[in-house]
Structure formats: C-alpha cells, structure tokens
C-alpha cells in the first residue's frame, strides 16, 4: 500500500447468491475525516441493505468515479483510509480502474441546455457560461443572443 494508507475499505461478501451489489449511497464526504465504525456507504443486496463501516479512523478517499446507483463487486476496494497528517497521498495505483469520467462541464451553470442549443453555441462559438442562471436554454435563445450581440 502507498505511504500513509491505514486501511482499505473493501466491499464484503454479503449474499450467498451473488457477489454483485448495488451501491445505494455514500454516507460521508470524500476526503473527510472519519471515526472507527462510521458508516461510509450503503450497499443493497438481493433482499437487504447493509452499511459498510470504517475499520479505523482516518481520512477517507473513495475510489474515483464511484457514485450512488453503481454496481460494486465483493472484494472491490471502495475506499482507503489515510493518515490525516499525510497531505496529497499518492493513490494512483491503489484503486482498480472504474467507469468513465462524467462530463460536468455544464454543471453549476444554473441552466439546462437543449442539444440544439449546445450545437448552436458551438457553431457560433459562444461560451455556455454566458447563459449562467438562464434556466431552460433553447436554440432560439442562442440565436436571439447571437443576433443581439452581433449588432
């Protein structure tokens, strides 16, 4: 294990019928300091919901890309606990590869763009940020903006 890692939190074998479960929830913030026996995640099996607890205290680093609703397998490393005194631990070889990175480039703008609007934004080279907080943005809204500002 990399320097500073206190323990791994591994998805346990919870069900005799299957080793694939549903990650129902992450109960603590990534990179937060946790105590021993804190619940860090909720996993649903064929009939029950189980809480996964920390084996010890430390700062928790979840495997990148994990999120609510994903499938997890028994034995998979869900997170590691790192000595809180260690800053920026190198975890590059700690976790198994996980799912594709989500594109959150438009997240946080306070607007929902139609696909047609996004296409026109690209075609007209208008940055989406200009529509921050505008709610629902249609292609016509982009056209209107373009016409107004071209003048």
């Amino acid at each position: 294990m990399a320097d500073g890692i206190i323990a791994q939190i591994v998805v346990p074998q919870l069900d005799a019928n299957t080793d694939e479960y549903h990650l129902a929830d992450l109960s603590v913030q990534d990179h937060s300091v946790v105590k021993a026996r804190d619940c860090v995640a909720v996993v649903e099996t064929s009939k029950s919901v189980f809480e996964i607890e920390t084996p010890s205290s430390g700062r928790i680093y979840f495997a990148p890309g994990f999120g609510r609703g994903q499938a997890v397998r028994a034995g998979q490393v869900l997170a590691v606990l790192v000595d809180p005194a260690v800053s920026n631990p190198d975890l590059s070889t700690t976790f198994q590869p996980v799912s594709e990175e989500s594109d959150s480039s438009l997240a946080g703008l306070g607007a929902t763009f139609s696909n047609a609007a996004l296409r026109r934004l690209r075609e007209l080279e208008i940055p989406p940020e200009l529509f921050r907080g505008k709610g629902l943005v249609r292609a016509a809204d982009v056209e209107a903006y373009f016409k107004e500002h071209r003048r």
């Binding site: 549903h22 129902a24 929830d25 109960s27 909720v42 649903e44 064929s46 009939k47 029950s48 919901v49 189980f50 609510r68 703008l109 306070g110 607007a111 929902t112 763009f113 139609s114 696909n115 047609a116 609007a117 709610g135 629902l136 943005v137 249609r138 292609a139």
Partner: protein, 650 residues
C-alpha cells in the same frame, strides 16, 4: 313432575336466568326467520337455533373487559353478550335504532368489545390482536373467537393459531362443531380432528357438547380460566343446528333433525307444561313482539349527504432535506414507539438484530422488545393482528416484507380493517398503518418486483399513500399518523430506501408542493409555459424528472410534472389547472397500466370537464422478468417516459 326429563333439562329448568336467556335467543331467531319470510328482513340470516347453550355457557363465564368475536351465525353470541334484542331486531330490519344503525345487518354486529363478521375465520387473527393488546397492557382480559368446524378450511385460522401459541396470547377459540360446513358434512370437509389441530400448535384443548349442560358450563368456565392464565385454549363443543344453514336451505333428513331436536335441552324443557316456562315464554314473545314493533316504527338510515368542500390548492416551497429515506422511516418508527406506549410494530424478521429484510427497523427490537414483534410468515395474520391491536386502542404499524405478499392479506384489509369503522358508525376505529416495499429495478423477478398498489386503490375505508424521493418519509408518515381515522397502506418503493430524500435542483425548473396533508409535489418550468403535463406517484418521480430533462434537451419540449402522495382516494385538483392549459397528459406508473392509476386520473379529469386532446398512459408492459435487460424494458423508465412525451407532443 320432571323426573322424565334428562338431567340437563332439569338443570336448565332450575337455572331460570339461563333458561330466560336461551328462550329469548330462540324466540328472537324464530321471529327473524318469520320476518325474512315476510320480506321485512332483507338479505339473509343464519340462525343458531339449537346452539344457544354453547353461546351462553362461554359468554356467561366472561368478564366485561373480555373481547368476543363471532361469525355469520352470530345472533346467539350477540344476545348472550348484550341481551339487546331490540338492537338486534332493528338492525336486521335495517333501521336507525339497530345496533349498527342498519349498516351491518345480520352478519356484521358491533357492540362494546363484541364484533361479528361474514367472512368465515376472518376475525381469528383480529382476536389474536386484541389479545396481544391485553398482554401488552398487562390486563387479564381474554379474547374469545367463535368458529364453526367449517372455519378450519381457512388458512388464516392456522396462521392465527400459530401466532397465538407462539406468543402465548390469551385467546380462547370456541369451535361450535355442528356437523356441517353449510351443507357439507364435517367428515367430508375436515381431515383429522380438531383436537389434533390444537395439539399441533401446543394449544390447550377442552371439549364439551350441547346436550350435557353441566359439563358444558364446567368446560366453558375451565377454558376461560385456563385462557386467562395466559394459555391459548381451544374449546370444541359438539352441537347441532336445528334450523337451516340460512333461511331455508336444508337438505338434511327430517329424521336426523328430529333426533337432535329430541336431544336438544331447551326443546325438552319447552315441552313441559309448567307455569314458569309459560311465563318465560310469554315474556320472551312479548319482548320480541315489542322489539319488532319498535323496529318497524323506526326510521330507515339515510345517505350521508354532508356537502364535501374541496379546499383551494395552495402551493408552497419544498423544504430542503437531506436524510436517507431508510433513516427517515427508522426515525419515524423510533419516534412513534418512544412517544406512544400503545404503538406496536409487527412484521416478519423485524426484530433486532436482523431489523427487517431492508433493515428499516434495525435495532428497534432491542430498544422496544415487547412492542417490536417478529412474526411467522403469515401476512394475513400480521395484518389481522395489527387490526386487532388497533381495535383495542393501539397504534400498530405492520410491515409486509415485500409488497408482492400484500395480496395474501387482501381479505384482512378489504373485508375487515376497511369496514369496521363504517359498520360500527365510528365506534370501532382502526388506526392501522401497513408499510410495504414495492417495485422493481433490482432483479428480484416476477414475485418480488411488482407494483401492486392499484389493487388496493378504490377501496372504501382505507388510504393508500406512496413515498417519493422529494418528500421526507418522516414528514409523510407524520401525515399518515395524523390521519389514522382510516387504515393506511404506505407504499415504499424499495429503490427509495437508500436515496437521500429532498428536492434536487433542476436548472430551469422549480419544485413546489401543495399545502396541507399528503402533498402533491410539482416540478414546473420557472420561466416558460409547459406544453405537456406528466403525472405520477412514488419512485416514478425520479424517472419522470429525468424524462422531463431529456425531453427538453432532445426536443425542447417543456413539461410540468406532478407526483401524488395520496393515491387512494385519488384527487386530481392539484393538476387539473395544468392539464387544462396543456390539454396533453402523460400518466406514469410502475404497475401495469391497464385499469390503474393513470386510468383513474384520466377518468376524473374528463368527469371534471377538463379538455384532453392527447393522453398516454405508461405502465409495466407485462410480468416483471428477472433479467436486467428485460426488466428495464418492462417497467417505465426515464427513456420510455421521454419517448412518450416526445410522441404525444410530436
């Protein structure tokens, strides 16, 4: 003078009060048959002529705090318990002065701690429930359930016997074995013996017969005493009904009936030319005549025509929340148990440390060991036991492990819990909450993934509520608890358990909910007019929310979504304005779409005169398969809802 009489007849003749009561019951029932023949009594009656003494023997041994549950052949039990000839006759005449105001009739009699019902065996778990309430309250009250031999064909009876024995509840099962289940001889319908059935459950067994009066009285007292000491007991009484099963349906031979009439103790006594008997006869007949006359003079009940006013729909912000749904439900259960000593949780595997299949009850079994009851696998008895606890003044919250198992308790909900308040004119309240997880997306297959709530919609006397991901379960359950004038089924979609409840921001849209109880949740565009209204309930709100976004992103269609919390009785007030504007409606439910939630929504909107140009109903397209790929195709999801929106707006 009476030396020719049997010892039992002489005994009865000597016990004037017992004789008076038996004679009163017989004359009352004979007159009821006459009134039936004259057409004054509607429907049917099932008399206990020849079976008066078992009723009097058992009920005579009871105290006023004991419960008595009867059956379709319940007049003798009722009169033995209440001596209310006037109330019974007026009830069968359908008059307001009847014991149930004419609402119950022959088979549904309610008085203080007395109840009869027309479903054979159906009250057995309810007697178990009142016995549980007595045990929890630390009283020595017992619950008596009268069954016929035919009731042992009903599965719910065995479920109830098992729970009574497992929990050592003070339940006395009185089996009046009259040799026939309606028209079928007992030998043809009952394998083995009733004694062996009791012994199989480790239930104390006693027996007696109608024709040995001292033995009958002694056995009844003994059984009541044994039961009151905390031993569930079964008392089998051999008896014989001298009249037809109902009004005239009798195929038994005249010789057989005459043989038993000759053995009948009351019939023997009534053949005596004795001044006392004549006086009692005159008194009983006069009382019944008076009861009939007064009953005939009383008014018929009228429909309740109190105008119902619909309050205006007012919208408010949805409070932010961030509590995992299963935590929120647990917190509600904990708070309810802590605040109310009469609250009881009942269900399969809910005790600690297991804490229920979905771990909702967690450690509550440790915290409240007497009031968190893990049960056998007996859904009908679970609901029935809860119903009995409720009748006794408790606040039962029962858990059905999977909603797919709820149909096993359908009769207890439909024919019992839903009806008691109405039939008793509000005297018997059933503050029963039934929690159950429903729904798919987990690969549990055809019998663990269904959404069956529509089968419980439209039942008078119960509410059906569905949790969603925006309202916190604690808040919605608090509404349920505040409205326990009716039993309530709460649908908990199993995929909600791990969700954090609360409104997630959707840019361009805002969340709102109606003020008051059982809010309707709305997702509406902040600055644009919607062209389609989408209505749903429960977990489908998540799918609909995604679909609303997809429909905008892909086709720039602006939708407005509504999610109902109270799905039965269903009201469309909150969405009728939206549908009036859009005239375009998509109804989404996870259960099968035919004859379901969407159908009712559309029907109510049309009845209100709302103009609907385009309508689509989405629901499960068939039996829910286990394979993930097929399951997702079968039940509605964000993609299929989106396609429906696009299609209807196309």
């Amino acid at each position: 003078m009476t030396a020719h009489l049997t010892e039992s007849a002489r005994h009865l003749l000597a016990d004037v009060e017992l004789l008076r009561k038996a004679l009163t019951i017989r004359r009352t029932e004979e007159r009821l048959l006459q009134l039936c023949a004259e057409g004054a009594v509607r429907g049917t009656v099932h008399t206990a002529i020849g079976q008066e003494l078992p009723a009097l023997a058992v009920i005579g041994a009871l105290g006023t705090d004991d419960w008595v549950f009867s059956n379709h052949r319940g007049h003798a039990h009722f009169l033995a318990r209440t001596d209310d000839v006037e109330g019974l006759v007026a009830e069968l005449l359908g008059r307001t002065t009847g014991v149930c105001g004419g609402l119950g009739g022959s088979q549904h009699l309610h008085a203080k701690r007395f109840m009869s019902n027309g479903i054979v065996g159906g009250l057995t778990p309810i007697a178990v429930g009142t016995a549980l309430a007595s045990q929890l309250a630390g009283t020595d009250a017992i619950s008596v359930i009268f069954l016929g031999d035919g009731a042992f064909g009903e599965g719910v009876v065995y479920e109830a016997l098992n729970i009574a024995a497992c929990w050592k509840l003070p339940v006395l099962i009185v089996v009046e074995n009259n040799g026939y289940a309606q028209s079928t001889p007992t030998a043809a319908a009952l394998a083995g013996t009733i004694r062996l059935r009791a012994e199989a459950f480790d239930i104390e067994y006693r027996n007696a017969d109608s024709w040995n009066l001292s033995g009958l009285l002694s056995a009844a007292r003994d059984a009541v005493t044994l039961c009151r000491s905390g031993r569930p007991t079964l008392l089998e009484i051999q008896t014989y009904r001298l009249s037809a099963h109902s009004k005239g349906d009798d195929h038994r031979s005249r010789g057989e009936i005459d043989e038993y009439r000759a053995r009948d103790v009351l019939s023997q006594v009534l053949t005596e030319n004795d001044d006392l008997i004549h006086a009692l006869e005159r008194s009983a007949s006069a009382r019944v005549d008076d009861a009939v006359r007064h009953g005939m003079e009383a008014a018929y009940p009228l429909p309740n025509v109190a105008a119902s006013t619909t309050p205006p729909v007012l919208w408010t912000e949805v409070a932010p929340a961030s509590e995992v749904a299963s935590d929120s439900i647990y917190r509600f259960l904990h708070d309810t148990l802590a605040a109310n000593d009469a609250a009881v949780l009942i269900g399969e595997d809910i005790g600690a440390p297991y804490g229920g299949a979905f771990r909702i009850t967690r450690d509550l079994g440790h915290r409240f060991p007497a009031r968190v009851r893990s049960t056998p696998i007996s859904e009908a008895a679970i609901v029935g036991t809860g119903c009995g606890v409720a009748l006794a003044g408790g606040y039962p919250i029962v858990e059905i492990m999977f909603g797919d198992f709820l149909p096993l308790a359908f009769d207890q909900i439909l024919n019992h819990a839903a009806k008691f308040s109405y039939l008793s004119r509000g005297a018997a309240m059933v503050p029963l909450i039934v929690r159950t997880p429903m729904g798919g997306r987990r690969g549990y297959g055809a019998t663990h993934s269904q959404s069956l709530e529509k089968h419980f919609m439209g039942i008078s006397g119960i509410r059906v509520v569905a949790l969603n991901s925006v309202m916190t379960p604690h808040a919605l359950y608090s509404d349920v608890l505040a409205h326990v004038d009716q039993p309530c089924i709460v649908i908990e979609h199993k995929s909600l358990y791990a969700r954090r409840a609360g409104p997630e921001p959707v840019p361009g849209f805002c969340w709102a909910m109606t003020q008051g109880s059982f809010p309707v949740v709305r997702l509406s565009p902040t600055a644009a007019a919607a062209s389609v209204t989408v209505v749903c309930y429960g977990q489908m709100l998540d799918e609909v929310t995604q679909a609303v976004l997809l429909a905008f992103q892909e086709e720039e269609i602006i939708s407005e979504a509504y999610c109902l919390s109270l799905i039965s009785p269903l009201q469309v007030d909150a969405l009728s304005d939206s549908v009036s504007r859009t005239q375009t409606l998509v109804c989404v439910e996870e259960g099968s779409g035919e004859a379901g939630f969407g159908s009712e929504v559309v029907a109510q909107l049309v009845e209100r005169g709302v103009s609907l140009r385009r309508v689509r109903r989405l629901g499960a397209t068939g039996i829910v398969p286990a394979a993930g790929s097929l399951e997702m195709e079968t039940i509605p999801n964000a993609r299929t809802v989106c396609e429906a929106i696009k299609e209807i707006c196309g």
